[in-house]
Each structure stands twice: as structure tokens, then as C-alpha cells.
Amino acid sequence: MKIYADNAATTNITPEILDVMIPCLTENYGNPSSIYTLGMNALRSIEKARAQCAKAIGAKTNEIYFTGCGTEADNWAVKETARRLRRTKGKTGVITTNFEHHAILHTCEALAKEGFEITYLPVDSEGYISAEDVKNALTDSTAIVTIMYANNEIGTILPIAEIGKVCREKGVVFHTDAVQAVGNVPINVVEQNIDMMSVSGHKIHAPKGVGFLYSKNGLTLDRFIHGGAQERGRRAGTENTAGIVALGEAITIACEGITERAAKVAVLRDKLIRELSKIPASRLNGGTSSRLPGNINMSFIGIEGESLLLNLDLTGISASSGSACTSGSLDPSHVLLALGLPHEIAHGSLRLSINEYNTEEEIDYIIETVPRVVAKIRAMSPLWEELTQGKSGWERFAPLLSPKE
């Protein structure tokens, strides 16, 4: 059986989305900046997609700027807003959290080298942060607050509307990376006090290589990519027509019937969490009070994440340990360390991210396979041996593990 359970990394392009892409590649291939019919047709389809994206998040059409990916939108929003507000108002502060995606964390590190002061608000042991925490961190020199809508590794959903409210009261620009949230959580940028928001196409069944930045009207948005006059002079580069059209279609589908779909996926998620928690010395990472419907993140003590993933791959299951962007690096997940977990637990994590295309049969196969694979790896782990023999203080991990019957 082949099971794809890494939908937070990327998703398949569905047939209905592929259908709207093909004509952009074969018939309406004109450059959208060209004046003849072929070009104008391409431009028309881009503007239709822009309207679809705006509608899906409660924005106005002229508040959507297409980008090459979610990461670009993050870089653009945070860097250019911070730089502009330092230039015009002398503001040098950037507030974020310590468990953002690297698209934000590394952007903030780059800004720190330019002299900005970055505040990394710590999340609690469940992976949440409150609007009060943000409010207390705001100062007169804060240029921008950037806090993710939902975490990519542990799926916790943050109180974005409340955070947006405290920022607005203080007159501070609020940006959110909503790459994981879009299509899983109902989003309305007006009701939720969001000034800027990043979205990626390939997490919601559009292809890789397209995303958008929402930037509220009235907010100055400086150019990030210089060149031609595309995207109303804000983002140069010939438009990825097929990708943009796919994104418009994908976000429309993703945001329709979101509640029913999320509820259906959450039932499978909860079954996985319930059953995998029966594995000895395991724990669920991230709280359950507000969590993405398809996110499961478990740690199995005494094993290392990569060997777990490679073994699961041998059984036909594609999963991840933390974020795909981190695989290949030697460090344990910064998100799990942000929860205060020791390395022994942070190293042995498994993220399963499911969606509406995963079947009950697949979930049962995962439930049957993971305990077997965990036992196999533990049998050859000297760390597990030490822990079970009580050599190196097994007790200290006990409070962090799921209670067993």
C-alpha cells in the first residue's frame, strides 16, 4: 500500500485544478503584458484568479500580489515593511515567535544583521501564544509583528484575530504566515485584523512555484523584486499564468465547505492520535484545543526521526519528522525544542499530515505499521536499552509522555 501522509509538505495537483492549468500552457500562453488577444486572455485569467484569491480570504482584489511562493511573500512583507518603517519612522523592532517556519526565522536573522532588533516570543509547552504576550512585547519602536497562523510541524492554531487587534490598537503592522492555515481554517482578513498575509499554492493542490501576498489597502508596499511593471509595479517578473490560475481555483475549492471537510479529516486525525498514543513511551506534540484538522505530531522516545521515516517509506508510508525543509539537517526540530522538550524526545518525532484524500483504510494501515516500525528501531537502539534498564534517568521523561492505562 502506498500512503501519502505528508500533505503539510506539499499536496497533489487534483484533476480539476490540472484542467484549468492546461489551457494556460497550451493555448493562452501569451505574455500577460502583451497587447494582443493572446496576451490579454492570459491577463484576464490572472485577474480572475486574483478575484478568486481575494474572495476566499475576504480581501479586495487589488490587495492580492502574486509571488513565486509563500517564502517569497514572507520575505517581501517582513523585510520591506521593516526597512520602510525604519527609513520613514525610525522604527527598528520586529516581533515574532520562536517556532516560526524558517521562511520567517531566517528572514528575521537577516534583518538582525541589518541592525533590527528581533524579539522572539516563546510559545508555551503546548505550542500556543496569547495576544496578551504580544501586547506586552509591543513598544513604540516596533515596526512589524509577524506571527504564523498555524504551525507547520505541530499544527497549533494561534489566536490571530486577537493578536491582530492588539497590533492595530497600537498602530503596528501585523503580518501572518498562513501557508498551513489556508483551506483548513476559515480566514477573513478584515474580521481577523490581518494587515498582511502569506499564502502558498502547493499546500492546497495548486502546483509548486506560486503563492501570494495579501497587503491591506492603505499600507505602503515597497518593491521587493525589481524589473518590469507586473503586479501593478510591485513585483516584477513575467507572471506564472498557469500557476496563478491554479491557485485561484485551488483556494476557491479549499475554502468552500471548509467546515465539513475539516471535521471529516479531524475524525481521522483523532483516531491516529488515540491509537499511536498507545505506543509505550510516546507523546503527542502540540496542544489539542486548537489544532489543524490534519496534523499529527508524535514523539517516540529512544528512536531517531530519520530512521523512522526511512523505515516507514520501506512500508509505503510517506511522512515527515518536523518540516521537510529541515530534513537533512542534523539539528532536532526547533519547534519541538521551543516547546521545551529535551533532545531525546525532540529527535524521535513523526509528523503525519493528512487531508480529505486519505482513507480510513490508509489510517488503519498507519496505525498497524507505526508500532511495528518503532519496535524494530528501538530493538537496535542503545538509548532505548539504557532508558528501559533505568540507567540514565528514565523517570525524568515520564511527565512528558502520554499517560498509559
Binding site: 528512536i303 530512521s307 520501506l314 533532545h343 537502539s381 542503545p382
Partner: protein, 140 residues
């Protein structure tokens, strides 16, 4: 990141997994913080390594290098095992991704650590023969 076919084969079917009850030398290197721990057991008769086993906590490369390194010293005289380098393990595995090279160093050090233990048990100072047994540079 790409693993070679040989690495994947050793990962999927690791050789020499387990413990040796009457081992003549046991070595352990690495730590949980760095994400890799290798424990190796050697059976040595008349200065020849007659059996080798390992237990490893770590990534795919850590398991594959443990498997390959134990295979490479099995049946060899101790003097030859002492010459085993991480480079030889990497070559035998058909290469390793750059960020995983430290696993091969750890495998080399695990063998040396077990040999060091062997000499100590014989009442011989291992330092002049085996040298310092270090951990991987990235794990300080």
C-alpha cells in the same frame, strides 16, 4: 538529500545488529543531543576479530555506517581494524551526503573505542596503540 543504493540496502537490511554476550571489547560513542549513539561489541580471538555486533540510535547513515564498519572489521586482525578509516567506510557505501559524513567518523571511532576497551581489559594501555578516541567534532 540522496542516499546511495548501498546505503539504503544496509539501512534496510543492517548486518550485525545486536549484542555479544561475551564480548572482548565494547565501545560507545556519540550522545542523544547530537542525535547519534553507536555501541559496538567485538569478539577477539588470537588478535583476530571473529565477531562484531552493533546497536545504534541514529539516522539512516548512522545505521548504514555501523552495519558497514562492523562488516569491514569482521574476520580481520586487530592491526587491520585499527587502520579502518571513515573514508574507507564512506567509499564502501558508495558515498554519503556531506552533512552525514560525521556518521562515518562516529563508526570509525566506535570501532576504536571497542578496541581501546579490549586493550584495557588485557591490562594494556590502549593510548599508544589506539590513540585518543574522540567523538565527532560536531557534538561538543
Amino acid at each position: 538529500m540522496l542516499y546511495s543504493d548501498i546505503v539504503m540496502e544496509h539501512f534496510a537490511n543492517p548486518r550485525n545488529v545486536g549484542e555479544l554476550e561475551n564480548a572482548d571489547g565494547i565501545g560507545e560513542v556519540g550522545n542523544a543531543k547530537c542525535g547519534d549513539i553507536m555501541k559496538m561489541y567485538l569478539k577477539i580471538d588470537n588478535n583476530v576479530i571473529t565477531d562484531a555486533k552493533f546497536k545504534t540510535f541514529g539516522c539512516g547513515a548512522a545505521i548504514a555506517t555501523s552495519s558497514m564498519a562492523t562488516d569491514m572489521v569482521k574476520g580481520k586482525p586487530v592491526s587491520e581494524a585499527l587502520k579502518l578509516t571513515n573514508k574507507a567506510v564512506v567509499e564502501a557505501l558508495g558515498g554519503l551526503p556531506a552533512q552525514k559524513l560525521h556518521c562515518s567518523v562516529l563508526a570509525e571511532q566506535a570501532i576504536r573505542s571497542a578496541l581501546s576497551d579490549y586493550y584495557t581489559r588485557q591490562g594494556i594501555d590502549p593510548l599508544p596503540i589506539v590513540g585518543e578516541v574522540g567523538e565527532c567534532a560536531g557534538c561538543s
